[in-house]
Amino acid sequence: MSVPVSASASEDVTEGASGTGPLADYRAQVRTEGGPDEWYDASHRLRPEQHPITSAVDQLGLPGLLAARGEARRLVEDDGIRYGPGAMDDDADPGRSWVIDPLPVVIGSQEWAGLESALRQRALLLQLLHDDLYGARRLLSDRVLPADVVLGHPGFIRGADGIAHQRLVLTATDLARDADGAWAVLADKTAAPAGAGYAMANRRVTSRVLGPVHRRASLARLRGFFDTMARALGAVAGSDVDTPRVVLLSPGTGAETAFDQGFLATLLGFPLVEGDDLSVRDGRVWIRSTGRSEPVDVVLRRLDAEFCDPLELRADSQLGLPGLVESARRGTVHLANPLGSGVLENPGLTPYLPALSRRLLGEDLALPSATTWWCGEPAELSHVLAHLDTLVVKPISRGAVVAARFGWDLSSAERDDLRREISARPWAWVGQEPIAMSTAPVVTPTGLTPGRFVLRTFGVAHADEHHVMPGGLGRVNTSAASLLVSNASGALAKDVWVLTDEPSGLRGWASRDPATQPALVRLQRRAAVAPRVADNLFWVGRYAERAEGIARLLRVADDLAEDHAQRPDTPGAATMAVMVAAGARLTGLAPQPGMSPSDHIRAMVGTPQQVGTLAHTGHRIVAAAENVRDQLSQDIWHVLSRLARTLATPAPTDVPLRQQLDVVLESLLAVAGVVHESMVRDQTWGFLDGGVRVERAQHTVALLRATLAVERAPITDGQVTESVLEACESILTHRRRTASGEGPAWPIHSATSLLLVDPGNPRSVAFQVARLGKALRLAADDDLVERAEALGASLADLDLVDVCAGDRAELRDVLATVETTLRAISADLTARHFSRKPTQRVLLGDWAGAGRP
């Protein structure tokens, strides 16, 4: 082992449990909990491979551990790592944060090598089992495997029967230690394994929190695994496809593991799509796009099989794609994992795996599972019914009901009910001996506490090899007394460090043998932009710009209110009133009766639940961005989470509003910076920047209409003009020009020149229109480009002295025309490029017509 630590130092630590500090406290608790522990061996001595972490724990002490815990939580929030139903749905609960315990679980290189080879064997076995179950079914006809356990499982998809070349590309395995400390399988995840993205997210957070420890430790890196996964998924398309197009099909941002899906898409470089983004034409899957439609070669499926195709599977699914199964059957698209792979998650198969391994591989099964009885066999059924109080009982498929029941936790009445349930459909149940499960430390305010630990490993099949992620997703519950470890029940996540003998970091990078690996990742063509994606990008731009415009306007109004609210009937107060009213026009939020201007301004900042408010607009940026997570730079998330935090609750009334607005504007500028500096200028950029430009132009026009397009007393007019220029970030230019005498003499002319027609001012309407034209060119809509250019030309031709003369009726007309034109362009862009599929309806077969002679 090359754990960078000397033998004597290790001795010191072992003995150094001097009776105080978190380590000693933890050791004392572990002795009473029973079962193996990740840190202490059976004789209560620290395991040497744990030294990188345990020595750090010694140094950190409880205050240091709690600081690390706090830092991990902050990073989780910044990265927007979430888990749970409706996690990103803006109408539902804000979504549970993913909670990461800062201490990783460390696994030594030798132990890992053994586990890895056992997992390889298991993956191969599962592939061969899958091949048989959707092929000749010899295992059933030869009675090696009871037919009921396979055919009675809802994961056996008859519609997928006979589809050729089905590769079990992805596997995941939940493992726990038995009483001797050896790993045993709790469950196989083969349908649409989740969690690899979370594993990487855990690593990113943990490595930042434990920076020095992470850098010193000789541990395997995860990045290479994702490169292998990307290659493996591309290879599923078959050797005749040069540049395979792979998409990640997601049920949407309401899914429990939406973060995992979005992050995985980013790590793999594949577009994240939903059913609406795809369509089947001529027996092939295509990405829907108004520009060019592009065929899809491989679908990384994160949608449950049953929901994938309303034509052949669940008719009520609105998430799938009619024709997908037919496309897979024709071989024009490959699904990873295949539709029927869920049948392998069946715990009823467990008792038969040792025999299957001998028959299919000619080898003994390397990884044991929990001892399992499948109730479809009469003898096993009686065993389970007789030992309900000591067994974990679960249905062979996860349904809507609770997955596992711990017999010893049930009352006798509950046991009777369970007995009846099992007896009614015995083949649908298994009983399992509980696995001891190791304990691992959790950082809590009172010190380290042991919780039960479950490891999820991830594997990818590529060419003739099965690659195992050198690490995994660790989960630990908060009470060693319970054997339930699930995210839904509040388990914490842990990073998993696999130590390596190789020089630090090398392991885990993909091998780069030029003969077999022509490139690190097979070239992925830039995918066509689906309407849903285009729509969300457009609205990320619009909402971000809208929030900025409103924030700037409210900041100006708030400053005016601070200075002039107490002095009615002054030009300053009149200006304030105009600016507050403009805010009301733009947000659609009129003052409540008796509301002071300051309160009205605060009400326009508002809360995320009130439509029209700044807070709501900020919230909408995040929601729109979540829908296109794969399209945006990772850097944007901590900026957005800061923005969301700032706007989550109204600022206390004794704190100046300006502070909050300044933070909001800083965040929005950071968003603009990330977008501007990190996005390639392609179609996606076109839609996003198009949104920014439409919004800024509309906002400026609306603001001008509410302020300068009305004739006022000259003194008020001058102040309103200055305020508008300030709200549009053009006041400095105005002053400089006025001072040097280069701009128009009258403030109104200077303002309309700067804000309406100046092609050089990045805040002017003319500038937005020019940029909109460029954006529309990227979106490949020539007609709209032409219309934007015509609008630009008409602005250039304006004679401002004429337009602003008299009662400004002409200015009003001009602004109204510009607004109408912009609106029409935006509406046509929406209709042509963002349109969803028409409503999907299912026509079930003819029933009533059947009769009798």
Partner: protein
């Protein structure tokens, strides 16, 4: 009911024309259909010819043999339309044998179940014994089965008795049941159509350990005495089939109270209606209403 006589077992040929017409009040832009547009070959049936005509012209029609061995069609129509018409015209030669009930009586219900479980093909047995979505075998179904399929009853007699019992106990009435009707609903209301009676027969067979499959197809009908048969007056039909210990299947029609004869034309079989729904589709449209018209003609062809 249709009466059965020895003549009904003579081999013959039929032309079966089945036309399904969907009409919408707005354009349907895209339509995907899955259906059984070619009769399957069976020991009692040979397909002489089969034509499928779809309007508007589909972009793609493809055919494969499904998990149950049925001829399954995939149809993709990408031409906007307000009327979709799918017509299948099949010529089949049919020759059903008279079932030797006495031979079946060498087993009892219980011994047959035991024998099948021991010697039958495990996948076939399991597929047709496990409950399916529309054949949920609960206590009520078991109770109904127990009155007719007693363990010691000779198998042939029991099958005939079950067929007769359902015919007797239930009223034929269309419009009261639909594709979601469960056996529990049926046992409550005591009325339904051939699909319902078939599901109940299957539930009873499975309850006592006899594998049962759902058969969809057609039955030649005779016009009322003295009347001329109207075009499109026939209908699709459904009945049950039970696996016997010697590996053959016996088809029973509880809607008409007899076993199948040469008037029965098979389209497809499966576990229940959902596996063999003649035609189902997914459409993309803003149309909120659709109407379905089905016309079936089963015409006996003169012997060549």
């Amino acid at each position: 009911m249709s009466r059965q006589g020895p003549d009904d077992f003579t081999p013959r040929s039929y032309e079966v024309r089945h036309r399904t017409t969907y009409t919408y009040d707005e354009d349907v832009t895209t339509c995907y259909e899955r259906g059984f547009l070619r009769p399957r070959e069976t020991p009692s049936q040979r397909v002489v010819s089969n034509d499928v005509d779809i309007s508007p012209e589909p972009l793609l029609v493809s055919e494969h043999r499904d998990h149950f061995g049925n001829e399954s069609f995939y149809v993709e129509v990408r031409t906007p339309h307000r009327v979709l018409e799918v017509t299948k015209t099949s010529v089949v030669h049919v020759a059903w044998p008279l079932v030797d009930l006495a031979a079946l009586d060498r087993w009892t219900v219980a011994s047959a179940a035991e024998e099948i479980r021991r010697t039958g093909d495990p996948a076939t047995v399991s597929t047709h014994l496990l409950p399916s979505v529309l054949v949920d075998v609960d206590d009520a179904v078991c109770a109904y089965a127990a009155t007719h399929l007693t363990p010691t009853r000779p198998l042939g007699e029991a099958v005939v008795a079950l067929t007769h019992a359902i015919f007797d106990d239930f009223d034929y009435r269309s419009g009261v049941t639909n594709v979601r009707t469960t056996l529990q609903d049926l046992l409550e209301s005591r009325q339904g159509v051939c699909q319902d009676f078939t599901h109940l027969a299957l539930g009873c067979l499975r309850a006592v350990g006899l594998p049962g499959r759902y058969v969809s197809g057609y039955l030649e009908t005779a016009p009322p005495p003295g009347k001329v048969k109207l075009e499109g007056a026939d209908a699709s039909h459904a009945w049950a089939s039970v696996l016997t210990p010697d590996g053959t299947w016996v088809d029973l029609d509880p809607t008409n109270d007899h076993l199948a004869d040469s008037r029965y034309v098979v389209t497809a079989w499966g576990r229940d209606f959902r596996d063999v729904s003649p035609l189902k589709g997914v459409i993309f449209t803003e149309s909120t209403t659709s109407s379905l018209k089905v016309g079936v003609d089963v015409t006996r062809l003169p012997e060549l």
